[in-house]
Each structure stands twice: as structure tokens, then as C-alpha cells.
Amino acid sequence: MSGTFVGMPAFPKAAHEAVGNTTLRANLRHATHTIRDKRAKAVAELDDWARLREAGKQIKDHTLRHLDHYLVRLEEAVTTAGGTVHWAADADEANRIVTGLVKETGESEVVKVKSMATQEIGLNEALEAAGIRAYETDLAELIVQLGKDRPSHILVPAIHRNRGEIRDIFEREMGPWGRPAPEHLTDAPAELAEAARLHLREKFLRAKVGVSGANFMVAETGTLVVVESEGNGRMCLTLPETLISVVGIEKIVPTWRDLEVFLQTLPRSSTAERMNPYTSMWTGTTDGDGPDTFHLVLLDNGRTDTLADDVGRQALRCIRCSACLNVCPVYERAGGHAYGSVYPGPIGAILSPQLRGTASAIDASLPYASSLCGACYEVCPVAIDIPEVLVHLRERVVQGGEFTRHGAKVTLKPARGHAAERAAMRAAGMVFGRPGLLRAGQRLAARTRRVHPRTLPGPGRAWSATRDLPKVPGESFRDWWQRTGGGQEGEA
């Protein structure tokens, strides 16, 4: 994945700062609660939601099971329709391919449609290194790019910014990138949108190369689909002479008809709309209509490894709607940056450690960035059981074992930093295996309860810094039960 996040601290440390930032907390709370409530209403309108969700899950599972077959079918269909298909095993290879393709055109700038895959591989940075400037054209991505910032949400990457901050960024940064912001810009949404429109129009009309991702690829026809709200996507997909699309291999659906399910579930889950404003579909190239050269770069970058895990593979069903982010109480308080990945929130917590492995501090901590409350699973339109995968990945972190990395079987050692926990779990297992030991422990705790401290030292401070400890009663239930014959011999 992108080098941008290398060296990120573990999640609890990164979240610590966000939790203390009251402006950020307020921005996130307002934004996530608004979209959360709207989604609930949009979903409640459909009486067949549960069936759509199940259908989406089954289509994705079927496709993933036969991914080799559908990928080849897609390649044939795209090639027949006049496109060229490239295969990229990892981020470096994908970046090399795209950089090479842009250089072949002789151009030194590209316009971009919002795309998670190109962020995942750090394409903008790779292009920059090759002397090619990539312009983000989605409004929120523009804000992030101009602000030299990182996205903090899948759907609304600038969710951590408020209107005042956006105005300041536009005023300061638009000039160096192209058309400057109008004078006396206020933070009124209409004015900010107009400033972006004027700034971007120049780019759309000049660009010879467009770069996109795709929400879906239809294997039977070779059609790619981009779903968006601003029309910037339509501009980038139709005006340039060359179009390069970088798409994760899991984005396939077998047939055109399968789109019927996802074009209902995706807009309602993401923007809470019945239908998104712009749905662009293209199949190869068409003479005199749209780009005359089309390249599709199919990206693996850890997806085949993820597919090899029978529990973790369900993460590949994800259609990037971000409903799970919007309902997540942890995301709401920690913010997107704490997840150290372009995929934040619950889905990021199960996707990043699978795509990147669990070797780094941030990736080994992500499976624990959840209270397992299950709100994410409840709203997921393709029924990814995120808590199940989180627990599965925790097991991988503490226990290690055999996994697939870069297509080969590897044996992972248990992660460091869990030795005390492992010992505690073993001790607890021993006590709980012998009721007599449990009773002895309870009696010891009861006898010493008058000298129990109110706060704990060392790791226990994590509890007692903000919460009182429960008071240990004078008698455990099991002792009471034995003493009173199940409560029949009167209370003491």
C-alpha cells in the first residue's frame, strides 16, 4: 500500500490525539450522525432490503470463488471492445504501468476521478516522482490535495475539515495549482463549490489523460462503472483522449444484470440517496465518442492473499460505501487518520492488516480498534461480518500461524507486545478450568477488599484513569449459594 503511512504509530496512540481534539470530535460527530440517520431512512424505504443485501453477498461470494474465470472473461471482453488490459501484482507494478502509459502519451499532467485503488497504491506520489502532475477533481479530494492532507473517510475524504478551514485552504493553495480562488471568498457552501468548479473547469478542458478507478466491472460485457455525485467523474471519463483505469480485481460482477442489486444498495448505503446523480458506464472505446485509448490496470496488491483466508476473504465483498464508518462509535471519536490507511473505520481495520500484513505496529493494532459492538455488520450492504473478521485477525496477531503472503505460504510468528496478555489469558484459563481455584481467588479478593486501591498501577491505569474500580463484595455468589442452600435458609 501507499508509503504515505509507513511508520504510523499504533492505533491507540494515534487515536489519543484525535480524542483530545474537540473541533475534530465535533466535526466528525455532526457529519457521521447526519449521514447515519439519512442512510437509515433511505434503507427503510425498501421493503426488500434484507433480500438485496443477501443477493449482494451471494453475487460477491460467487464471483470471488470463481475469480480466475471471471477475470479472464473480463480481459477478453475489454480487449474485444478495444481496450488494453494490464495485470499488476502489487502497488509498484501498478504505478510503473500507469507512469509508463502516461509517458507514452507525452503528457505531463492527468485529471483524476476519485479512486480508492489509486490512493491505496500511492499513484499520485509515483506520478509526481516521474514529473507528472495528477489533479484530483472530486471536491473533497481536491480539498485534501490542496491542503497537503490525507483522506480520513472513504466517501467524504475531507470529513475532518469544516467550512472555514476549507475556505482558508482554497484561498491559500488554489493559486499555486492553477486558477486562484475568487477574491473575498466566504465559507458559504455555494461559494466554495463555485470556486472549485472554476478551478477544475480549466483542468477538465485541458487534460489529455484521465485516470480513474471503478466501482464495478462487468465480466460478460467488459463494461466499467463509476458511480459519483459531482459530474467530475463524467468529465474525466469522457473528455480526455486517453483513459487509464486502475481497479482492484475484486470489483468484478459476472453479468450486467447483477448491477441491478448494487446500484440500489450502494447509493442508499453511502450517500443515502435513492440513486446517485451520475452513473458512467463504458465498454472499451467507441469511435468519435469519448477517449480513443483505454487501458485497464487490474490490481492485486494483497487481494489474492486475502482471498486465501477462509474467514478474512469476506472483506473482499466490500463495495466501499462507508456505511460502516458512519455508524462506528470508534471511528466517530478516533477519526480516519488514526487508522493509518486510505481505508479507515471498521472495514479498514479488517482490510489493511490483510492487504498489508500484520507486521507493522499500526497493522497489528487495527484488529483491536473495535469494541465489537456489531453496528458495522448490521449496516453493511454486503453483510461482511466485520466483528468476526476482527476477532479472526486478533488470533492471527497473538497466535501467528500459516498464512499466504505474496501468493506463498508463510508461517507468521506471534506479534510482540502480547506476552503479558498471553500469560494472563493462560492463567485465567487455568483458574477457570478448576472451580476450586476460582473460589479460592474470590475469597482472597473478598478478604483483602478493604485494602484494594482505588486506582491501579501499570497497565491497570488504562482502566482506572477514567473509571472507578468495581467494589469487591464480601462474599461471592457461589459462597452465598452454598452457605444458604440456594437462598432457602434465609439471607445473612
Binding site: F11, P12, A15, H16, V19, R25, D310, P329, V330, R333, A334, P367, Y368, A369, S370, S371, L372, C373, G374, A375, Y377, E378, V391, L393, R394, E395, V398, Q399, E421, R422, M425, A428, G429, V431, F432, G433, R434, P435, L438, P459, G460, A462, W463, A465, T466, R467, D468, L469, P470, V472, P473, S476, F477, R478, W480, W481, Q482, G486, G487, Q488
Partner: protein, 259 residues
């Protein structure tokens, strides 16, 4: 144990290790409540822990012997009742998964078969009252204002729905006030509370503020683990409210008020 003439329903109380050790009052309340409703309650003394903390922290293989032990202790009972949504969910939702994983690891379906009977016979307390005993009015009296927090595993894993609210609404003297943001997690999450203490504490404080905004005297839930976190937070924030397990409210009568 009971003087009733009809043969009483005989059930095992799976109290949970947390309640046994820290909240024996909740256990006594369950015994009092069920006995009043004609249920013959047994507390198998060999019970310990369901293994939830092990499982959810990534120690599934260490949870297995605890699941087997649970099955040894409770396997013979007609019904197993627990006053904990999350421990109930461990047995009902995660024991089958432990069995499945063992099978996927090539260890056959022995574990799944061993655990199946306890999976089918385990009920969370409010579920047992409403679905098995068929009562919503348990004859309780509790003259206080109460707001109810539906804990995540009770709500989403077990699907308790409005059962707890129906039970509380039928309690005489009780004024049930709606909790804003009720379905949001309180931030306990087992080891999450200490692995991510900042986020956990922020979630707890928000939940307590929401509960306070109702003006209720009592924050009620059907899981003492969440209440331990919320009660500890309330004490630290010097909130006038107190946490009370639903069993203690339902056990309370006019003749014998619960503490």
C-alpha cells in the same frame, strides 16, 4: 426446593464469572425472581467462565477447554439462563463458530457436536422470561425513574429487541425514560476498554451524558460488564445516577423492595 404442587421447570443459572465474583446481588435477584415465577433454579457449582474474553481477544484455542467445561457443567439441564447479553451471545453465537473453526482446522465435528446442546438451551434472562415463561408482568414494584441501555450483544447478537423494555414497562411504579442514542455502544468491549482506553472512555462519557440528560435516577442494562464500565465512569464524573441490573429491578416487590 419449591413447595408448589405442579412440577416446576428446572433450569440452571449460568451466572457468569463477573457476576459471581463482583455482582452477587444480581445472582440473588435472578434466583428470587425466577423462584417467585415458579422456576426451580439450580446453580451448578462447577461453573466458571464461558471463555468470551479469551475468544474475543484472539485466544480461541484457549477458549475451547472453557467451552467444553461449560458443556460438561450445563449439558444435562433443560434450560440455561444467564443475566448477561454478551455471555449469552458467546454461547449462542460463538460456540457454534468455535465448533466450525475446529472443523475447518481438520479436527472433525466432535467439538461442534459437544457444544450443540448448550447452544440450543441457553437463554438470556429477559428472553427466558418473555419467550419461555411467557410473562412480561413479573409482579415487580420499583418506584423510580429508569432509563434502559440495550447492550450491543443483547441487541445485535441475540436480538433481544423490545423484550427488556416490555418487562420494565410492566413494573409498577417504574417510570421508563427513553435514552437518546440508545443503540450506540457504551465503549466497554471487554479488553477494548484497556487496549483503547481513550476511545473507550470517550464513548463511556458520551453514554453517561445521554443517560443523565433523561433525568432518570437509574441507568438499567441487562449486562453488568457494561454497567461496571458505565458505573465506574459515573462515579468518576460524580453523576447522581446509579447503575442497576434489570434482574434487580424485576426482583423488587412492594413487600420486599430490592436494596
Amino acid at each position: 426446593m419449591t413447595n408448589k404442587e405442579e412440577p416446576a421447570l428446572r433450569v440452571a443459572l449460568f451466572l457468569t464469572c463477573v457476576n459471581d465474583t463482583l455482582y452477587p446481588d444480581t445472582g440473588r435477584a435472578v434466583v428470587k425472581l425466577l423462584t417467585r415465577l415458579g422456576v426451580d433454579v439450580d446453580f451448578p457449582a462447577a461453573q466458571t467462565c464461558c471463555g468470551q474474553a479469551h475468544y474475543n481477544t484472539g485466544y480461541r484455542h484457549q477458549a475451547e477447554p472453557l467451552a467444553r467445561h461449560f458443556s460438561d457443567v450445563f449439558g444435562e439441564y433443560e434450560a440455561i439462563v444467564t443475566p448477561s447479553g454478551s455471555c449469552g451471545a458467546m454461547v449462542r453465537e460463538l460456540y457454534p463458530r468455535i465448533g466450525e473453526r475446529a472443523r475447518a482446522e481438520g479436527r472433525g465435528d466432535g467439538l461442534a457436536r459437544t457444544l450443540a446442546p448448550v447452544v440450543q438451551r441457553t437463554y438470556e434472562l429477559t428472553e427466558f422470561l418473555v419467550d419461555v415463561l411467557g410473562v412480561t408482568d413479573v409482579g415487580a414494584y420499583y418506584p423510580h425513574t429508569v432509563t434502559y441501555h440495550p447492550t450491543c450483544h443483547g441487541l445485535r447478537s441475540l436480538g433481544l429487541g423490545d423484550r427488556p423494555a416490555r418487562l420494565l414497562a410492566a413494573v409498577r411504579g417504574l417510570d421508563l425514560l427513553e435514552l437518546p442514542g440508545a443503540t450506540e455502544c457504551c465503549g466497554f468491549g471487554g479488553t477494548f476498554a484497556v487496549k483503547n482506553p481513550d476511545v473507550s472512555a470517550a464513548m463511556g462519557a458520551d453514554k453517561v451524558r445521554n443517560a443523565e440528560s433523561t433525568g432518570a435516577e437509574v441507568l438499567c442494562a441487562a449486562d453488568n460488564s457494561c454497567l461496571m464500565h458505565l458505573g465506574g465512569t459515573m462515579a468518576r464524573l460524580r453523576t447522581a445516577m446509579r447503575p442497576v441490573h434489570i434482574a434487580e429491578i424485576l426482583a423488587s416487590t412492594e413487600e420486599e423492595p430490592w436494596s
